[in-house]
């Protein structure tokens, strides 16, 4: 009898859980796209399967109670019952058809992109997102991973004129206009990824070697997280992007602020002389050779990668970095960057720093190197096994850096001083990954290991 009671209770508990789960946020988020039909199909499926679940189990409970063993009781002998079996087959088939039919209709809509859809491209790469819009000609330029380099991270074909006006978004955040059907072309630079925004309900894998697509119409302005939903290596869980759904004018303004491929090609080589002049304000703290000065809490800058320095300078200038409470040293950077006129000037400075000769730094941190080596296996995925830094993962060089600075930054990532600004998505990845280091000792250990690289 206990089993009958327990099954009955499990059925009741399942129903209760189902109905209270939305109260706790364990259910669909409010939909923010045109795909209400998907939710309707899910609802139909819930009703049909729910009825069957309850009916089958209640009948099971009935049998367990009524036909449990009692003295003198004997089972019936009924091997087959054609009529009953036929009826059950027919009813089941009808139930299945009731779920399948709307499913196929909605799928028909999903595979048919409306004629008035605008286009954008989402590019996935271990473990970050970037985006591309076709520009005024409405046509994407050719791309090929063979063209990819630090100066051409999306692999744009320099020969293709159609690509000149393509708008390139080197950021994990993309803005989309509200109520505009959007076809998202999906392209991967390396392994499989998946572009999924739960509030839009649809998703599709990014497959290297081919271009896939999905379409949706964002209907509610707001910010929605892009989650990668196809395992793409060790940083999979940290591969997050953001869709910002704007009113049309805000979207246009944002799009205009992004560079085109033509702009980027036109900027030419960085101006080292201008960079050297601009570096003067940096030299006061970081030293004329970029060697860093621990007493001033200024880390070494050489051999760090111009792309990384440029990005961090932009962050300091825009208040993405150095504005958090507790980031006292970062705070000194912001006013200095205010004196640098624009991104191009920062690019020149970064390029100049790249030319400075690297000098070894003194090591100051000690720890358990063996443990640090184990912990470093996570870091190695982005920063490289030798701490050399990998630009495609947006991971700067770690080997040979000022070790006290690495400790401070790891502490900052862990405590949220760094990496919690909405626009610092790479920093947000580091915050997630810094969870690998449970305490200050672990930070010292891993930095001690990095010192050996």
């Amino acid at each position: 009898m206990a089993i009958a009671v327990v099954i009955l209770l499990l059925v009741i508990a399942t129903l209760i859980f189902h109905f209270i789960s939305p109260l706790y946020g364990w259910y669909f988020t409010d939909i923010a796209s045109n795909w209400d039909m998907i939710d309707t199909t899910v609802d139909i499926t819930f009703v049909v399967t729910g009825v069957v679940f309850v009916a089958v189990n209640l009948f099971l409970v009935y049998c367990l109670v009524n036909f449990r063993h009692r003295e003198g009781h004997k089972a019936a002998y009924d091997p087959e019952n054609k009529k009953l079996e036929t009826w059950l087959t027919v009813i089941t088939t009808i139930g299945v058809a009731a779920m399948l039919a709307p499913g196929l209709v909605v799928w028909g809509q999903f595979v048919t992109v409306p004629d008035d859809a605008a286009e954008f491209e989402a590019i996935g790469q271990q473990w970050n997102w970037s985006f591309r819009f076709p520009g005024e000609d409405g046509e994407f330029g050719n791309v090929d991973v063979r063209h990819t380099s630090v100066d051409n991270p999306m692999g744009m074909d320099p020969e293709d004129p159609a690509g000149r006006d393509d708008v390139l978004v080197f950021d994990q955040t993309v803005h989309l206009p509200v109520d505009q059907p959007m076809q998202a072309w999906l392209r991967s630079m390396d392994v499989l990824h998946d572009f999924a925004v739960p509030q839009f309900r649809v998703k599709m894998d990014l497959v290297p070697g081919m271009v896939t697509y999905q379409w949706f119409t964002p209907t509610v302005p707001g910010e929605y997280e892009i989650l990668c939903e196809e395992l793409c290596g060790i940083g999979h869980f940290a591969m997050r992007g953001l869709v910002v759904v704007d009113e049309r004018p805000d979207f246009e303004a944002w799009l205009d602020s992004q560079p085109t491929w033509g702009d980027l090609m036109a900027r030419g080589e960085p101006n080292l002389a201008a960079g050297q002049a601009g570096y003067a304000i940096c030299a006061a703290c970081h030293g004329p050779q970029g060697q860093g000065q621990p007493v001033l809490n200024a880390p070494k800058l050489t051999d760090l990668g111009a792309w990384y320095i440029e990005q961090q300078l932009v962050y300091f200038k825009n208040g993405v970095r150095g504005t958090a409470e507790g980031d006292t040293f970062g705070a000194t950077m912001a006013p200095l960057m205010a004196t640098v006129p624009d991104r191009n000037a920062m690019r020149n400075i970064a390029a100049y720093i790249e030319t400075l000769e690297d000098q070894p730094v003194e090591t100051t941190v000690t720890g358990d190197v063996a443990r640090g080596e184990r912990l470093y296996s996570t870091c190695a995925a982005c920063h490289g096994a030798d701490g050399e830094g990998i630009w495609t993962t947006r991971a700067p060089r770690l080997a040979g850096r000022s070790d006290w600075y690495l400790v401070t930054q790891l502490q900052n990532f862990k405590s949220g001083v760094r990496g919690s600004h909405d626009d610092d998505i790479y920093g947000a990845q580091m915050s997630l990954l810094a969870e690998v280091l449970p305490d200050d000792q672990a930070i010292d250990d891993v930095v001690a290991y990095i010192n050996t690289l």
Partner: protein, 587 residues
């Protein structure tokens, strides 16, 4: 009871009886010993996989509190947990374990038709397990590519175990498939060739039907995995590009060009979906026998049950791409595969109805195996119904790659078959060992397992509906609310509770070996041939001088007019009883 003299058998084989301890217990050709070897190996490696799951559940449930599972370990444990459970535990235990034990005994044969090949199958399987386990001890550790091993990621930098781990995994799979093929050909040939006199196909117990059809599926499906594994090995080792397109790896240009990652997925799931039924069909068969025996009632709709097994087996080969709705394959395939997938729900649902209808008007004995079988009906109904969500292409869009998928396939492919395995182990334990298990411990084991696993997997569906992706080491995000973390902690507690409660099973099984009550040859009053053996446990060659002769189907329980509530298959028709025998099944 009636038997045919040995000499009457036209194809009687000469039997080699084991001569020494080594040939009796180690290099033994007796199907029953091989079955036990398979089972012990499979369960041992399953325990490893269960411990791995507890480890990564600790990380998911209490991310700040434990420093055991870093992301690389997390992906490695998840991968190994999945692969071990699906292939090395479930496939090996159902077919290598129960297939080996039950086929000859339930068909009235002395052994498999190729006993030496059968022995070889086990030893090759053991080698595949050792290769897999070795990957824990090599630099870089086992692969962390996810159990689906999707390229390019599986063999690219940025994935744990990309050095030796993935090589050992692919090698181990290839060796496993060799072992399976040796065993599988044996099972199929034995079912077709070695049935005793009177054992027509439509008199076979459903256990044998399930194992038989599952083995055929395996023989047709595993080659797809084998070629996929070999092609990926070539991509990895000698630089071919079957699955590898032109791509970047860690900032540099890769060496490959022109391969198709989606091709791998087709090959993998062409194996992978039938694999679900390779596990499920034996479970369907065995649970039917347990339900019928302990309800003292014939299985309802035997012929439909047989045809449902065959139909599900056939259909399972044309539904594979429902795992790939959002893989980037041609989206128009979605129409076809959603339709075939939902069609397969019809024979599956009929099986559920027939199980419940078997209980209907029965004389239900709530023994431990019966409790597990009833638990199976409940969890399988749940898991089957959530399959209708994922199989329906549109509904799959929001749910694919989320925790809903995890909840679904664990309910349908983890919990349900495992409940059947426990039902089967408790059911056949008296025959295998000659002793009864401890009833109280068995019942506690059941309650902990059923309620524990349901508390693990029910909530996962709802986290999945919210949209929480699977295979995330940490969630920290604006999107995923704190309440998910609360639920995750609860799931972890339940999961560790379930894992710990399996101790009850091991204690029971080991303790009862010596201390259990003597069982007698047929403690459940069952009709099938294994319970009619002259010895318990059955001796080598199963039957003494005479092989049994079968006169009726396997489910003559509570036949009106009969004195006892079961009539063994070996009993000739009784005077004056008009029903029974074959309940009118024509041959």
């Amino acid at each position: 009871m009636a038997y045919v003299a040995l000499a009457d058998r036209d194809h009687e084989q000469h039997l080699h009886h084991p001569q020494s301890w080594i040939t009796r217990w180690v290099f033994c050709q007796d199907h029953k010993v091989i079955a036990i070897q398979y089972s012990i190996t499979a369960i041992s490696v399953g325990v490893v996989a269960m411990i791995l799951s507890s480890m990564f559940r600790l990380q998911l449930g209490f991310p700040e509190s434990f420093d055991l599972v870093t992301p690389d370990k997390y992906y490695q444990y998840v991968t190994m947990h999945g692969m071990i459970m699906v292939i090395y535990l479930l496939t090996a235990l159902f077919l290598g374990g129960f297939g080996n034990y039950l086929i000859p005994l339930q068909l009235g044969a002395r052994d498999m038709v190729f006993p030496f090949l059968n022995m070889l199958s086990y030893w090759v399987y053991l080698v595949s397990v050792l290769i897999l386990m070795a990957s824990f001890f090599i630099p870089g550790g086992p692969t962390g590519a996810g159990w689906t091993l999707y390229p390019p990621q599986a063999i690219s930098d940025g994935t744990p175990g990309v050095g030796g781990g993935i090589l050992l995994m692919l090698l181990s799979l290839a060796v496993f498939i060799v072992a399976f093929t040796m065993g599988g050909l044996n099972y199929v040939t034995t079912v077709l060739q070695a049935r005793c006199r009177g054992m027509t196909l439509m008199r076979m117990p459903l256990s044998v039907w399930g194992i038989f059809v599952a083995t055929i599926l395996g023989l047709l499906a595993f080659p797809a995995l084998l070629v996929a594994a070999i092609m990926m090995l070539l991509d990895n080792v000698i630089g071919t590009s079957f699955f590898m397109p032109e791509m970047l790896t860690m900032g540099g240009q890769g060496e490959h060009n022109g391969g198709s990652p989606v091709l791998f997925q087709h090959l993998f799931w062409f194996f992978g979906h039938p694999e679900v039924y390779i596990v499920a069909l034996p479970a369907f068969g065995m649970v039917s026998d347990v339900l019928s025996t302990h309800a003292r009632k014939n299985i309802f709709g035997y012929r439909m049950m047989v045809w449902a097994i065959v139909a599900i087996g056939g259909l399972s080969f044309i539904v594979w791409a429902h795992h790939m709705y959002v893989s980037g394959m041609n989206p128009y395939f979605g129409f076809f595969f959603a339709t075939t997938t939902l069609i397969i729900a019809v024979p599956t649902a009929l099986k559920v109805y027939n199980w419940v209808l078997t209980l209907w008007r029965g004389d239900i004995q709530l023994t431990v195996p019966m409790l597990f079988a009833i638990g199976f009906i409940f969890t399988f109904t749940h898991g089957g119904l959530t399959g209708l969500f994922l199989g329906n292409v549109t509904v799959d869009l929001p749910l694919s790659d989320t925790y809903f998928v995890i909840g679904h396939f664990h309910m349908v492919m983890g919990v349900s078959p495992v409940l059947v395995l426990f039902a089967a182990i408790y059911h056949w334990y008296p025959k295998i060992t000659g002793r009864m298990f401890n009833d109280t411990l068995g019942k506690w084991h059941f309650w902990c397992t059923l309620i524990g696993t349901y508390s693990v997997y029910l909530p996962m569906h709802y986290i999945g509906i919210l949209g929480v992706p699977r295979r995330y080491w940490a969630y920290g995000s604006d999107f995923i609310p704190d309440s998910v973390q609360t639920l995750n902690s609860g799931i972890t507690v339940a999961a560790i509770f379930v894992a710990a409660s399996q101790l009850l099973f091991f204690i029971n099984v080991i303790w009862s070996l010596r201390n259990g009550e003597k069982a007698g040859p047929n403690p459940w009053g069952a009709t099938t041939l294994e319970w009619q053996t002259p010895d318990t446990p059955p001796i080598h060659a199963n039957w003494r001088d005479n092989l049994p002769v079968v006169y009726r189907w396997a489910y003559d329980y509570s036949v009106p007019g009969e004195e006892r509530d079961f009539v063994p298959q070996t009993e000739p028709p009784h005077e004056g009883v008009t029903v029974g025998r074959d309940h009118g099944v024509e041959h």
